[in-house]
């Protein structure tokens, strides 16, 4: 990964802006999906409507990649460690709930997977920042 060449002080703001846009697109896609599926003129368009919320997820990946290329090496290290831990925890939570559904808990749509990972990411980021602050 290349070192950041643009001023790193703006990286955070740009990342938050890009994430807000992507999350807005995700919410809009999830919200519009049932209507688009119900009113699709052809089966192909119905399939396209069903997969629509996945597109912002891929945009989030692009946003994360762009952020990683803007920040410096220490921030990148912290960011990627946080990402790895949080997605590990989030994935375990999703698999655990899948087994719990077999045990009788109400079934949840797969669209809950991304918010679960996002919440896990946010909580892990907060915990890591508190831990880092305590070391100073």
């Amino acid at each position: 990964m290349q070192a950041a060449t643009a001023p790193v002080k703006f990286a955070g703001r740009l990342y938050v802006l890009e994430c807000a846009i992507v999350m807005g697109l995700y919410v809009a896609a999830v919200w519009a999906r049932p209507w688009l599926v119900a009113h699709a003129a052809t089966p192909e368009l119905g399939t396209a409507a069903k997969v629509l919320p996945a597109l912002p997820i891929w945009l989030m990946l692009v946003s994360v990649w762009r952020y990683c290329n803007r920040i410096d090496e220490f921030e990148r290290h912290k960011f990627l460690v946080t990402l790895a831990i949080s997605f590990g925890i989030g994935s375990c939570a999703i698999v655990t709930y899948a087994f719990l559904m077999d045990a009788g808990l109400p079934p949840l749509a797969i669209t809950w997977a991304w918010p679960t990972l996002a919440v896990s990411w946010a909580l892990t980021t907060a915990i890591m920042q508190i831990a880092d602050h305590a070391k100073r």
Binding site: V8, D72, E73, F74, K135, R136
Partner: protein, 70 residues
């Protein structure tokens, strides 16, 4: 560091000699102020490119800034 301990460094002294704030140093190195703070407090050891950039900025050798001995 093999034993998990961070290197000691003279960044605060070198910065103070030049009357620079952590923000000034961060801007000069194109890193965040948090990164400068992490370097100075020994919470993070820099990569070789960053260590070279720091040494070049202060016009000294890497070993004049960083020391792996306790």
């Amino acid at each position: 560091m093999p034993n998990g301990e961070a290197m000691k460094n003279k960044l605060p002294e070198l910065r103070a000699e030049r009357d620079m704030t952590q923000g000034d140093l961060a801007d000069a190195l194109n890193v965040s102020r948090q990164t400068v703070n992490a370097l100075e407090t020994g919470r993070y050891d820099p990569s070789l490119p960053l260590a070279f950039a720091i040494a070049r900025l202060f016009k000294c050798k890497i070993e004049d800034v960083f020391n792996d001995r306790k």
